[in-house]
């Protein structure tokens, strides 16, 4: 029994001994497994490895790093445990080989044992992490008034970029003070960078870092602070300038619109056109004085008044007989607006310049012949032409004072025709066409016109152009004057004067005759009641005629014709180019007055029918007498044959 009890007690003691040391063994153990955390090389020439120790096992633990190079079984231990700090191993240049694979292991060992870490293969080329760039400098610079930041730096002094051993690329970041967002900029291999688009008056932070071709980014450099100066005032001035500019533009535009408002108004609302009559004064109309209006319409200078020189010479009255439809009405008064002047049954031709040539009548060839003849006689009558011109002018002016219009009214009712003014109005252009040298054609027309009056047969052809016929009538009357021999004493004042007169009459007659001769026209029974007496002969050998008032009363617009012989008709031209005039005895009266004076002669006829009765009157005329008449004109024509050029 005692023996068994003793064995149990020994067993218990042994068990106790066992447990006690075990209890102490839990506090002491092998060191934990260390682990290599990282290996870094700052310049690709040295590198450092750091490890993390495991649990130490309660006992002091030592760590050792062993490495093996590529293709070598030699195990080396870390040469430097202290340079890089605790739990690190620093490999200096001699121990570092580039492009060589390192197999590194860390061993932790304590009293109980050692523990190996997992091996790590590294190649130094790929573990390069440079130091941050150094000497980072930030300055504010200006570019055309706008500021920008210029950041410059240098590579870490350890990294050898000069020899080309390491190539670094850089990156920087900027942010405003107080904000959280960084603005990143990659700078490449350059060591300088510009930052634009800055806020005026802002405070900025700048940092730079670098990286090799294949490696890790360095840490950011320490922040560099910079303050951008204020340029707000410049911005404001720009805005002010822009505002002023636009205000200016606006002013100009509004001013232009204001200037053109009137024209714009016209464009949008065109005004109603008012009456546009020349000489018409709206104000007068508004005033309500119609007389003034109408008087204003009247052209004051029509008919043109002559100079005072010719007033004495102007013939006051003339009576011209125009057969049949062509009765010329002459009035002294200016009131020609009544219908008396209106032609009957004939169209008026305002263009009184046109000759009968325009009408497609027989006179076409006559005009041509007359034209030729005129030219021949031009030279002859050049001297007397001036005289005739003056006479003509005088007569014209006189006539124009009496008439306003170029109207011929073959008024049959009136026995007398007054065409003097109207007919002569266009005549100044032609003056004494045979004497002067107007356009020959026009003169021919004139002559034709005058011719037309004479032949009764061709009267109808000229009805269409009464205006011209009036001219012709006047011409005939003119020629009548020239050829009248009513007052022979007047025509024979003096030999020289007579010569002049004769010459004048020559020309006249010749002119007339030329017109008349080819036509073979008879002188119409146009009787001139008023004759011109020779007044004086001036120093230029010009005969100044004097209007001789007729014995009859100067009735108002009444022209009376005396009975007399009329030599204004050319019977023909003989072979010697001598004009053969026809003497007619004018037994008819042509009176403008409504057939008042019918006591002139027994052969009076109503004015209405005077024109129509021209034919019968003509027939009643005496036969042509080819002899010297009492009046010198006609006779002299026959006496003095006209040379033909």
């Amino acid at each position: 029994m005692m023996k068994k009890f003793g064995e149990v007690i020994l067993l218990l003691l042994l068990l106790l001994l066992f447990f006690v040391p075990h209890a102490e063994g839990t506090r002491y153990s092998l060191p934990g497994k260390p682990a290599l955390t990282r290996c870094r090389s700052p310049e690709k020439e040295t590198f450092t490895c750091w490890w993390e120790p495991g649990s130490d096992g309660g006992l002091p633990t030592t760590y050792a790093l062993y490495y093996r190079k590529e293709n070598s079984e030699t195990v080396y231990e870390c040469p430097d445990y202290h340079t890089a700090g605790k739990n690190s191993c620093f490999f200096n240049k001699n121990d570092t080989s580039i492009w060589v694979n390192y197999n590194i292991t860390v061993v932790a060992s304590n009293a109980l044992g050692s523990t190996f870490s997992d091996p790590v293969d590294i190649d130094v080329v790929y573990i390069v992490k440079p130091n941050p760039p150094e000497k980072v400098a930030v300055t504010v610079m200006e570019d055309k008034g706008w500021p920008f930041l210029r950041v410059s730096w240098e590579p870490p002094h350890k990294a050898d970029t000069r020899s080309g051993w390491i190539t670094l690329i850089y990156e920087l970041r900027v942010k405003l003070d107080g904000e959280n967002e960084w603005e990143m900029h990659l700078a490449g291999q350059q060591k300088m960078f510009n930052i634009f688009s800055l806020r005026s008056g802002g405070r900025y932070l700048v940092q730079v870092r670098c990286k090799p071709d294949h490696g890790f980014w360095s840490e950011w450099s320490s922040a560099s602070h910079i303050k951008v100066p204020d340029y707000f005032h410049r911005e404001r001035s720009v805005w002010i300038l822009i505002t002023v500019f636009f205000a200016f533009i606006f002013l100009i535009v509004s001013w232009c619109i204001h200037i053109n408002s009137h024209s714009l108004k016209h464009c949008i609302l065109p005004p109603v056109p008012g009456p546009k009559i020349r000489g018409f004064d709206k104000q007068l109309l508004k005033n309500g004085k119609s007389e003034d209006i109408f008087s204003a319409l009247v052209v004051s200078d029509f008919p043109p008044t002559s100079s005072s020189n010719y007033e004495d010479l102007l013939v006051e009255y003339l009576e011209v007989y125009i057969p049949e439809e062509q009765e010329l009405i002459l009035e002294e008064s200016k009131d020609l607006h009544d219908g008396c002047l209106k032609p009957k049954g004939s169209t008026f031709d305002s263009d009184s310049g046109r000759g009968s040539c325009d009408s497609h009548t027989l006179l076409m060839d006559k005009c041509g012949e007359a034209k030729d003849d005129e030219q021949q006689t031009d030279q002859d009558g050049s001297q007397t032409g001036s005289e005739a011109q003056r006479q003509q002018a005088a007569w014209e002016q006189e006539a124009l004072t009496y008439a306003h219009e170029d109207m011929i009214s073959p008024d049959m009712s009136s026995g007398r025709v007054k065409t003097w003014p109207s007919v002569f109005s266009p005549l100044p252009q032609y003056s004494l066409s045979p004497l002067s040298q107007p356009s020959s054609l026009e003169t021919a027309k004139q002559h034709c016109l005058s011719d037309s009056l004479f032949p009764p047969a061709s009267l109808s052809s000229y009805l269409t152009q009464p205006g011209q016929s009036t001219k012709e009538a006047l011409r005939s009357s003119y020629s009548d004057f020239c050829s009248s021999n009513k007052q022979p004493h007047l025509l024979h004042p003096q030999p020289d004067a007579r010569h002049h007169l004769q010459a004048h009459s020559d020309v006249n007659i010749s002119s007339i005759g030329h017109k008349e001769a080819p036509a073979g026209l008879q002188l119409p029974t146009v009787q001139s009641t008023e004759y011109v007496e020779v007044h004086t002969v001036n120093e230029d050998d010009m005969v100044l005629l004097h209007p001789v008032p007729s014995g009859h009363s100067h009735g108002k617009g009444c022209l009376q014709m005396h009975q007399g012989e009329d030599y204004s008709k050319v019977n023909g031209v003989d072979k010697n180019n001598v004009l053969l005039l026809q003497r007619d005895v004018i037994e008819e009266q042509v009176d403008m007055c409504p057939c008042e004076n019918q006591d002139m002669n027994g052969a009076t006829e109503s004015c209405c029918t005077s024109a129509q009765k021209s034919i019968p009157c003509i027939h009643t005329t005496l036969p042509v007498q080819e002899e010297k008449a009492v009046n010198g004109y006609v006779d002299t024509a026959t006496m003095f044959p006209l040379p033909i050029h």
């Binding site: 020439e45 240049k93 080989s97 580039i98 492009w99 020899s163 080309g164």
Partner: protein, 219 residues
């Protein structure tokens, strides 16, 4: 597109050098053109290294589950016979001609292996087209880079910077020497690993050479 552009730069490099831009009297012009040549070559080598790096990473990702395989220390590149400087001091201590020769040797050594690697890549159905194109481009780049470096060497020799001792590595003998069967034993992954390193060496050596010969242009 970029890769083709990079290839083009090398081609331009060779073409440009055919027609000399500088007259003999202008020394500065020669130096400038040499610096430009160096820049182009370095750029090209950087591009090459980038491709090899990408390919290697891709390989590691898809074909090797564990990155760190202990026991694969017997990684033996076929170019390990070529003595290359392993440090900056070693590289700087090396003569220009030696360094140039090392570069050329490396480039020559890798021409055929990369071509075959590309061929094997093409038959691998696992590889995508992108990787296959990269391997082809890599292979072309090595070829063009060698030509470029040859041009640089010729230029340097013309300028008298280096002696004419640099042998013409394009000779058939050199090709035969490099054409050893060692690389055929290498596996694809090891090949990529080795080439990635060698392309980095080439790039680095070229930079060292440039900054030693024409230091004032971007060093």
């Amino acid at each position: 597109m970029r890769q083709s552009a990079r290839l083009q730069t090398i081609l331009d490099l060779t073409a440009v050098d055919a027609a000399p831009l500088c007259t003999n009297a202008q020394a500065g012009c020669h130096v400038l053109s040499l610096a430009n040549l160096f820049d182009r070559v370095i750029q090209h080598s950087a591009r090459m290294h980038g491709i090899s790096n990408d390919l290697h990473s891709e390989f590691e990702l898809y074909f090797l589950p564990s990155k760190n395989q202990i026991g694969r220390v017997s990684r033996n590149c076929h170019t390990s016979s070529i003595l290359t400087p392993n440090g900056k001091e070693n590289a700087q201590r090396m003569a220009r001609e030696e360094l140039t020769e090392v570069i050329l040797k490396l480039l020559v050594a890798w021409r055929d292996p990369l071509w075959h690697f590309h061929q094997s890549m093409a038959h691998h159905h696992d590889f995508n087209n992108f990787s296959s194109n990269k391997s082809l481009e890599m292979s072309d780049m090595v070829h063009e880079l060698r030509k470029g470096v040859q041009k640089v060497v010729e230029k340097m020799q013309m300028l008298g910077i280096i002696s004419n001792s640099v042998s013409n590595l394009a000779s058939p003998e050199a090709l035969l020497a490099s054409d050893s069967a060692e690389w055929r034993l290498m596996k694809d992954y090891d090949l990529l690993y080795c080439f990635r390193r060698d392309s980095n060496k080439v790039q680095n050596y070229l930079k060292i050479l440039k900054c030693r010969i024409v230091p004032e242009h971007g060093c």
